[in-house]
């Protein structure tokens, strides 16, 4: 693969209700900040990818609706294309467009405002209308089913998943973009109500509003523009079957496969040793444990013991979500792109909770019910 660089990153602050701003306003904020970060003007950008979901935006062709704010109408207009899904998938598409040889640079944008809709109804609409929707299934119910089957299979005690909340919300205290920042104890988490057992209220990622953008370029473009590049060493995107009832919910073959492919590209044999910091997409606390297993950081069924060992703390052997992760800021669609952005900041040495001497970082995004599809990125400093 030709070398692809990330040379500009930006995110808006995330908060529960940006009622004063439209999607387009958030998109413009992220786009202009990313251009500034890269030291570029909109005229320098070769093509644009926007990422969104029509149901959450409450309209169709939501991705094109932010075109003006993403610079797609600049001058005579630019090539713009779209992805419905997580921001990591938008970035994946943006990268492939450069690899096609057609463009030297891609601006990837993601936006979302969960405050405008009803997340239960919207994610209920993901389900099959004939058999599932009328029962009232939604993303939280799906996650609860997954947590239940994972805990049951490996006898994970509730305190181990609660640890992810305690760690991530504390990490978020220094992150000015985070939506939730708090010192919690395991008891606080386990005392919170259970809207869908075994999941506690505090174990659910918040519903945030916000946007993020990044700029991908060829090696020669990055050099020509004197940018501070971070390099893509490996990336893979895999999805498993759609029907929830037909999946083995205590495992994630799609994530396992995506991770193994990305590691192979990057020449990684031992991810726990070869990766210095990871930003992963946990929509609920238990997912940080389960995804750690499938990413190969620990053996299957050992996700609880792994977090309990303190290996994933800021000063641990492999810090996970030093930014605070999705448990602290969660604009669906945007959240995965923020994982890449936080990984880039770590490799630049500019992160809020900087991991010392970070040379290689992993970023992970997911999309769909209970982690149906996964995208894994390996980023390097050199």
């Amino acid at each position: 693969m030709d070398k692809i660089a990330v040379i500009g990153v930006a995110q808006t602050p995330f908060s529960p209700n940006k009622s004063g701003e439209t999607y387009a306003d958030l998109a413009y904020e992220a786009t202009t900040k990313a251009l500034e970060d890269a030291g570029l003007a909109i005229a320098d950008i070769g093509n644009i990818i926007t990422t969104s979901n029509d149901f959450w935006d409450g309209r169709t062709i939501s991705s094109m609706a932010v075109g003006d704010s993403a610079g797609a109408a600049y001058g005579e207009g630019k090539n713009i294309s779209t992805v419905e899904g997580d921001g990591t998938l938008g970035a994946f598409y943006g990268m492939t467009r450069i690899l096609s040889g057609s463009y030297e640079s891609t601006l990837v944008l993601a936006h979302s405002k969960l405050s405008e809709g009803n997340n239960h109804l919207i994610t209920n609409a993901f389900f099959d209308p004939t058999y599932e929707r009328a029962i009232g299934m939604d993303s939280l119910t799906a996650s609860a089913l997954q947590a239940q089957s994972y805990y049951n299979r490996y006898k994970i005690p509730p305190r181990q998943s609660a640890l992810a909340v305690v760690k991530n919300r504390a990490n978020a205290i220094r992150n000015p973009n985070a939506h939730l920042q708090e010192e919690l104890t395991i008891e606080d988490v386990l005392r919170s109500p259970q809207p869908a057992p075994p999941i506690h209220e505090m174990e659910i990622a918040p519903e945030s509003d916000g946007a993020a953008a990044l700029i991908l370029t060829t090696e020669s473009f990055a050099k020509k523009h004197g940018a501070k590049p971070v390099w893509i060493e490996g990336v893979s995107f895999c999805a498993e079957g759609h029907r929830l009832g037909e999946r083995r919910l205590w495992e994630s073959p799609a994530l396992r496969q995506a991770a193994q492919k990305a590691y192979k590209m990057a020449g990684i044999d031992n991810p726990r040793k070869d990766i210095d910091v990871a930003e992963i997409y946990e929509a609920c606390s238990y997912q940080e444990l389960l995804w750690s297993e499938e990413l190969g950081f620990c053996a299957q069924g050992q996700g609880g013991a792994f977090i309990e060992s303190r290996a994933t703390q800021l000063k641990g052997e492999l810090p996970i979500n030093p930014s605070g992760g999705c448990l602290s800021a969660h604009a669906i669609i945007v959240a995965g792109l923020v994982r890449i952005i936080e990984a880039v900041l770590q490799l630049r040495g500019e992160a809020v909770n900087q991991v010392e001497d970070a040379k290689r970082a992993l970023a992970h995004g997911q999309y769909g019910l209970a982690g149906q599809s996964h995208c894994v990125w390996i980023l390097g400093k050199n």
Binding site: T22, A24, Y28, I42, F55, A73, E116, A134
Partner: protein, 157 residues
């Protein structure tokens, strides 16, 4: 018995609906406030290309510049394009079927560079034509939304 059930080939969605709270943004909020309080159309002008946007938004796409200069446009204007609807569809705002026929068109308000979409009252005499002058008829109880304009009328414009 099975044969009888083969009539069940579709399933009705039921009474479910999607509630949304769409942000107006600073531009939309000002536009509707002026419309409601003063029956006035306010647009935003691009300092670079001088295009006046109605309804207003915060970015000029072609220039990629933020918009800040408010200008009053209209209230009269001319028909940019139109159609006459003769089939009724459910109005997404009211859930009611609007009596047919009625006019629908793009109105270029005086001083604006973009078109406003709204209902057109069918003239008492003759037909609608592109370029005809129109004036807005405002609702008695303004709410701060597009329904504050009943329609645009060619009569008296």
């Amino acid at each position: 018995m099975v044969k009888k059930n083969l009539n069940l080939l579709t399933l009705t969605n039921g009474e479910s609906f999607q509630p949304f709270r769409y942000a107006l943004g600073s531009a939309g909020a000002r536009f509707f406030q002026e419309l409601k309080d003063n029956n006035r159309f306010m647009g935003l002008r691009c300092a670079k290309c001088e295009k006046v946007y109605i309804p207003p938004r915060n970015v000029c796409g072609p220039c990629f510049e933020p918009l800040k200069d408010w200008v009053q446009v209209g209230p009269e204007g001319s028909i940019y394009s139109f159609t006459v609807l003769r089939f009724a569809f459910i109005d997404p705002e009211t859930g009611e079927k609007k009596p047919v026929p009625y006019g629908y068109g793009f109105i270029r308000l005086d001083g604006a560079s973009t078109n406003l979409q709204h209902f057109l009252e069918l003239p008492k005499n003759g037909d609608l034509k592109i370029g005809m002058r129109v004036r807005p008829v405002f609702a008695k109880n303004a709410q701060g939304n597009m329904r504050d304009i009943v329609h645009f009328s060619v009569d008296g414009a």
